[in-house]
Symmetry: C2
Subunit: 704 residues, 2 copies
Amino acid sequence: MLEAIFAPQAIAVVGASPDERKLGHTVLRNIVQNNFPGAIYPIHPTATEVLGHKVFASVAALPETPELAVVVVPPQAVLQVATECGEKGVKGLIVITAGFREVGSEGRKLEDELLAIVRRYGMRMVGPNCLGVIDNVAHMNASFAALMPLEGNIAFMSQSGAICTAILDWSVVEGIGFSRFVSLGNKADVDEVALLQAWNDDPQSRVILAYLEGISRGPEFIQVARQVTKQTPVIAIKSGTTDAGSRAISSHTGSLAGSENAYEAAFRQSGILRARTMQDVFDQALIFAYQPLIGGDRIAIVTNAGGPGILATDAVEHAGLQLARFERATIEELHAQLPPTANVYNPIDIIGDAKSDRYHTGIKAALADPNVDAVLVLFTPQAQSDVPETAQVIADLTAAQQANGGERIKPVVTSFMGEKSLGPALKILNERHIPNYPFPERAVAALKAMVAYKQWLDRPAGDYVSFDVDRERVQRTFDEVRGQGRLELGEVEAREVMAAYGMRLPESQLARSPEEAVEIANRIGYPVVLKISSPDILHKSDIGGVRAGIESANEARDAYELIEYRARRYQPNADIRGVLVQQQAPKGRECLVGVSRDPQLGPMIGFGMGGIYVEVLKDVVFRLAPLSQQEAQEQIEAIRSFPILRGVRGQAPADIPSILDTILRTSQLVTDFPEIVEMDINPLMVYDHGQGSIVLDARIILND
Amino acid sequence: MLEAIFAPQAIAVVGASPDERKLGHTVLRNIVQNNFPGAIYPIHPTATEVLGHKVFASVAALPETPELAVVVVPPQAVLQVATECGEKGVKGLIVITAGFREVGSEGRKLEDELLAIVRRYGMRMVGPNCLGVIDNVAHMNASFAALMPLEGNIAFMSQSGAICTAILDWSVVEGIGFSRFVSLGNKADVDEVALLQAWNDDPQSRVILAYLEGISRGPEFIQVARQVTKQTPVIAIKSGTTDAGSRAISSHTGSLAGSENAYEAAFRQSGILRARTMQDVFDQALIFAYQPLIGGDRIAIVTNAGGPGILATDAVEHAGLQLARFERATIEELHAQLPPTANVYNPIDIIGDAKSDRYHTGIKAALADPNVDAVLVLFTPQAQSDVPETAQVIADLTAAQQANGGERIKPVVTSFMGEKSLGPALKILNERHIPNYPFPERAVAALKAMVAYKQWLDRPAGDYVSFDVDRERVQRTFDEVRGQGRLELGEVEAREVMAAYGMRLPESQLARSPEEAVEIANRIGYPVVLKISSPDILHKSDIGGVRAGIESANEARDAYELIEYRARRYQPNADIRGVLVQQQAPKGRECLVGVSRDPQLGPMIGFGMGGIYVEVLKDVVFRLAPLSQQEAQEQIEAIRSFPILRGVRGQAPADIPSILDTILRTSQLVTDFPEIVEMDINPLMVYDHGQGSIVLDARIILND
């Protein structure tokens, strides 16, 4: 996939000017000087030769069809060039030219036309308005970047060209290498979804990084990411998640930013590791790029000083990781080999005067211990330290695991603290692919990311249930509501929808006379609630149209007449259909299932306990639909007040399976009907385990 | 204060060996080679000259009395040396020698003896078991560190010598300079409190940093820090706050780590900025060391690229800071001077092809705008950028504020993203004291720390109320309880204590007969609760010794007899003093005031709403006593469920002043009586505003 862009045999550079100050010249020079092995065809209307390559006047004039054309001509000329490329049979375009969607409505129109041409000829396009594409596997620098990134196995995509530039400038000094490096630009065609698909299972990329400002196709993104992350870790930073950040984006590229909660849910449900800062992106990337996958969360620490050992221990605990507990044999081994003042429990403190041999002892013992999943080595420069030798020892022991084979290979990370005396050691560590962090807390955060990824891999694939429901009945109800010029469903209509999707409701029947009300109430059993039923009266309580706690036939008769009288008084010509007699549900634990629709990511379901828990304590957890059974179960368990559902102070547990059922049916409903823009089940009255739940009230709003 | 240590005229180095491999030699060399301007006296039993300085055989033999002696002799010899120093009239000791408290009970004994000598002669001592003291103001490196720190205005103290070494090694490359640099070691005498006092209002130190593993004198520390932080910002990292971290500490220096909650409260109440990682410590230090204090929280951003601008905007919002809204004049000025594609609202985007002149325009306008409190400048290296010139422009504009004078001078921080092309620019920024951060999020975090410090400065000094209470009555009660061989108070006793400290209790009186019970109940008013009163029956409910909801004289009589019968049946010889007749308090909002005593930091008061809020939702906020009125008010408002006290859904507000009163009286009680190790007021029944609160039950435990 996308071979034309990432692995072309020949490239045309359209707009390859002989003028060194032009971007087109820079792009050509980058391709030529970075030793692209295939054919290179500069295209320019007047020039004859640029940088030693023969120039052609147009794509049409080329002697062969290149797979890829890099386009660096003024925006007005781009459509023409794209058409020529399509006619010639070019399969991939990188449009560097700016002046499209990002400059307003006219640019947007131009971009739409460009995309139409790309689609017409079955081409794929990166850009427009991008820095270009650099591929270290294909030895291709089809960009106007000032630097070629080092070789490595990190694949990087960015919606911001400046972030690309800054990262490049930074990475060449830090020694961080990339397999592929893409500036997405306006992502009219190739977007983050297409790149994830293209880079899935790429043997050259051990980890995929993404700087995203907005996601174009939310549901597809989640679906594709869910697959890709089972093969390759994906680390993303999503900027513009705050209100202020979103405003900054829209003045930037015009991309609409989704809400924070929706992105949080999307990343969690698709296994993407979400980084909070650019620093985190690379701190995490390094461990995935350099080290084998971690097997668990038990960390051993080897240090030549107490203080950093405590910092690291604190960080391990804060991150929710475990400090490994060594086997007896490990402790004895360490006792035998280390000086008596050393600490042989975790963290292993080999004392300030340690040379590399003591590091060897400590690390070897930790790696060999079956209770250890990863080793964090801390180093502070002391008078007796042999700095590069220590780095060497760490690298050798780490590599030796591979050679020994058989057993599980464990990741090793380091925090060499300091700078002046560390130069050669840091060089060794990086060359030998030991991720090093200047402070222990950052090393622990990287380990934490890897443990989170391991947990994602270990998660069983989600089970998606499909309930047997009555879609037609819902569609009929929606059509009726719309037919009456409304978008919000009334109570009887919302009940219809809930019932059609198999949710339990309080028993209820429409009475057309006081006598009928008594009859129904006798059948349902007391207490009951009576409510006026009229499409003309939406706020029933406000006019006194609801009477609860009806305990007898007499009270039912009285209530009917009173309600009818009030309704007539309120609006003499109201279309009164009768009075709804409804089972008065006993008190249970009140919950709430809400749905809103994120413009980019689709329907999002919120769950929490009703009343103060949601309103005051903001104790709601969001997930994007469709939800698997496991995700819904996790959602329920993720609210802070979950212990109340599980039962506190001797209280019986609530019927959690019935909550799960309600969430999953809601998920199916809002997935089946994208026209639902908002929906609330509030309260969902949940009874003790085995007693189920009842939807007491529901509200549904359709799109217009 | 501590002038003998930080500003000596002459120094003796006891143990100044001619052998280069010895620590004593290293220390002498550090003092000599780093140009200490005063007299230097090496002391060694056999040598005659070391490093060009005449050697003396003992301190006693010195021709003058040096203010300071640095001691680097074997541990057994230290006591003798200290005594000689005392006799000679030396005022300050730096004991580098290890082998004291950190090696177990014998070392602890040795350390106690050493301290006794120090005290006897009125000396002050840093150490033992430390790296030494470096003072850039006195040009004194009295340590065995391999490097001299750069000059600067950061004062640094660390309980870990290795952290000192690592920070030194790192700081000389990063260009971070220090005024004073102290390794505290075992801090037998000079501890963090003494250093805070010594460095308060030090014109050479603009910010104080502390790496702490434990705090020796908690209450003094808080009191001193509260004063110091009003003059000088203090940034601390406290390690060993987790359980695992504490275990790592105790195997390290034997210092006992306080609990996380207590430290959190201590730092908050004393205005110390708490850093979570070593990186944060220095990120924050830099802005305080280099820039003027911020006036508010409104940040302007100037950037040459959209992506980093969005990252910074998100970070500003996440940190709870404000994105400044420019004056109309600022926007017009920017419109006039910047190209049309630039964004003239905040963040000011001067576009990728910006040279330093556009930075000049943007920064100047932002600094001039009265709605801006600080400017964050972002830079990504682009083809047209003039990198060092841009740094120069930023430094010049920042400095020009000073020159212009008059108006408020605003801090400027930068995030130059990248590395390879930034070298000269970063050098300029650092030399000109512009704090630079490799990623925008770190720059924003530093600004956030400065805003937090500004808010601390703006906080009014706390008002401490002192209630008129009956201490003797409490002391009598405690004495009685102890006299009976108990540590836990019974209900009547706890009531005594609460009453003596002016807390409101349900009305209550002991009845000695059924008739008396009726009489009392009639007076108090129904409903009442009857409870058996006997020192032999602690768990009254368990034997059926409590009857609530008594509504009439008849019921009161019956209840009395029933309770008495049950008590007799339970224990025929019980000392039954009667039956307590108590007003049954009406239902209110249940709260909880709890006290525990942190071994290092003293009494800690927890406040929350009772029941599930504390038990399930862990919604409790802790503060250390004694509390000011403001601190108690903030504590109440800090719980997540505070809106419930303020009144939700049309509910009247609770009587918050009465909660405040209860907390402050509790604070006074546990401060007056350190023998209270645990105490709970649970529930404190809080009524609507104006109706007060009642202590329904209290539990007090004394130390043994």
